[in-house]
């Protein structure tokens, strides 16, 4: 007598009368969820450093909170170090937050259509904010000249 052990996921084992909402899709292999999980942990640790560094430099160093104005931001973004710092903060915070909301949608949206549309809105918002933020960090010009007129800014060099 031979023992026939059926391969898992064949769906033939047991009574086979599992309600459809409990059936798992057969596709979706790959390691995306693993990397998403890993990214949350790593980006979280890096963000703690980036955000508290950001808060310390902005609110504690020098004149502290009273020193923050347009010129302060312009000065920071003139330095490639702070450009990179803010860029890393923007990207990591946005991807970290987006992935968090993605998992919440996966956990709580009950209908496939609801889940799809919530994710479309989420990803669209993420792309807009990340692209816009990146553009601002790299193309920021504190002393724009509009129609030949220098906009006010005490720190700008005379035209």
């Amino acid at each position: 007598m031979s023992t026939d052990i059926q391969t898992p996921r064949s769906g033939k084992i047991g009574s086979g009368k599992i309600a459809p909402q409990y059936r798992r899709g057969t596709g979706s292999k790959g390691n995306f969820e693993m990397f998403a999980w890993l990214f949350m942990r790593l980006s979280g640790v890096v963000l703690v450093v980036l955000i508290f560094g950001h808060l310390f430099v902005n609110l504690m160093v020098g004149e502290g909170i009273h020193g923050i104005d347009f010129g302060f931001v312009a000065g920071k973004w003139a330095d490639p170090f702070w450009q990179f710092w803010d860029l890393a903060m923007l990207w990591l915070a946005m991807l970290h937050g987006t992935n968090g909301v993605r998992t919440i949608i996966n956990d709580y949206a009950e209908k496939d259509a609801t889940r799809l549309w919530l994710k479309v809105v989420l990803y669209a918002a993420t792309v807009v904010i990340v692209v816009l933020g990146t553009l601002v960090i790299f193309t920021f010009n504190p002393c724009p000249v509009v129609n030949g007129v220098q906009l006010p800014g005490g720190f700008c060099p005379a035209p």
Binding site: G14, R23, N31, E33, M34, W37, D107
Partner: protein, 260 residues
């Protein structure tokens, strides 16, 4: 002593002050049971029963009292009634427990004690749920020894340390208290669930087993270990005290270690 009297329980006459069964304190409780009968109504209803119970009684004894003395239509699963078979997991006062391991005196008897079927699985009648989705996930992780080597003529020896590695997860009785306490499972029931992962853990970390990689691959699914949000509901619900969330975390780490 008359001749008609049945055989006495004890030949020794105990003096009254030593006491016996009568000394167990009694108290009145209200048991609020969630009743569901699809042949009568699609809507489940709460039903209250006033019962006088003993200090040694468990929730299961109260359910028996209802079923045997008041309303025989009450349906629930129980088999061994001693916390081993895992049949009578239910939601008692909002927490998943075994009815046979929960003493009434440990609950707040001044308020009605609520008894509901475990959440997230389709209710069939009263406290009975369809366990098939739960067992399907259990089967999919292949909860049996797979050894590729030659079959030994003696038992497969294992060191005490190797046995200790997965000792905690051998305690599972498949009562579904953990899986049906998991909020991720409540939503869509696609998640493999803590119980399946615990039983995979039992073989993944068994030095005699050769199919750990296959099980890790199965649990690397979209609906596998990565859906765990570490809410610890499962660890709190487990009537055997298995550190379920820790077992899930160990499986996560094993998958990461294998992939990276």
């Amino acid at each position: 002593m008359s001749a008609e009297l049945a055989e006495p329980a004890s030949k020794i006459e105990l003096p009254a002050h030593i006491g016996g069964g009568g000394e167990i304190p009694t108290f009145n409780i209200t048991l609020r049971v969630r009743r569901y009968n699809p042949e009568v109504s699609e809507e489940p209803v709460w039903e209250d029963h006033q019962l006088t119970m003993y200090g040694t009684d468990r929730v299961l004894d109260a359910l028996h009292k209802i079923k045997w003395e008041i309303d025989g239509s009450l349906s629930f699963r129980r088999s061994c009634a001693h916390g081993v078979c895992g049949s009578d997991a239910m939601r008692i006062n909002g927490r998943n427990r075994l009815a046979c391991k929960t003493l009434l005196k440990d609950l707040d008897t001044s308020k009605p004690i609520t008894v509901e079927p475990i959440k997230g699985l389709p209710v069939e009648k009263d406290l009975i749920v369809d366990m098939e989705p739960f067992f399907q996930s259990f089967r999919e992780v292949m909860p049996f020894l797979i050894n590729k080597g030659h079959e030994p003529t003696k038992e497969r020896l294992q060191s005490v340390e190797d046995r200790e590695r997965f000792d905690d997860t051998t305690k599972c009785i498949l009562c579904a208290a953990c899986t049906s306490s998991c909020p991720v499972f409540w939503t869509d029931g696609q998640y493999f669930g803590p119980a399946a992962i615990v039983n995979a853990h039992r073989f993944i970390f068994d030095s005699r087993d050769d199919a750990g990689d296959m099980r890790l691959e199965i649990l690397n699914d979209k609906e596998g270990v990565w859906r765990c949000r570490t809410t610890f509901n499962c660890s709190e619900a487990c009537p055997r005290g298995i550190q379920v969330t820790q077992a899930i975390a160990e499986v996560k780490q094993a998958i990461l270690a294998r992939k990276i």
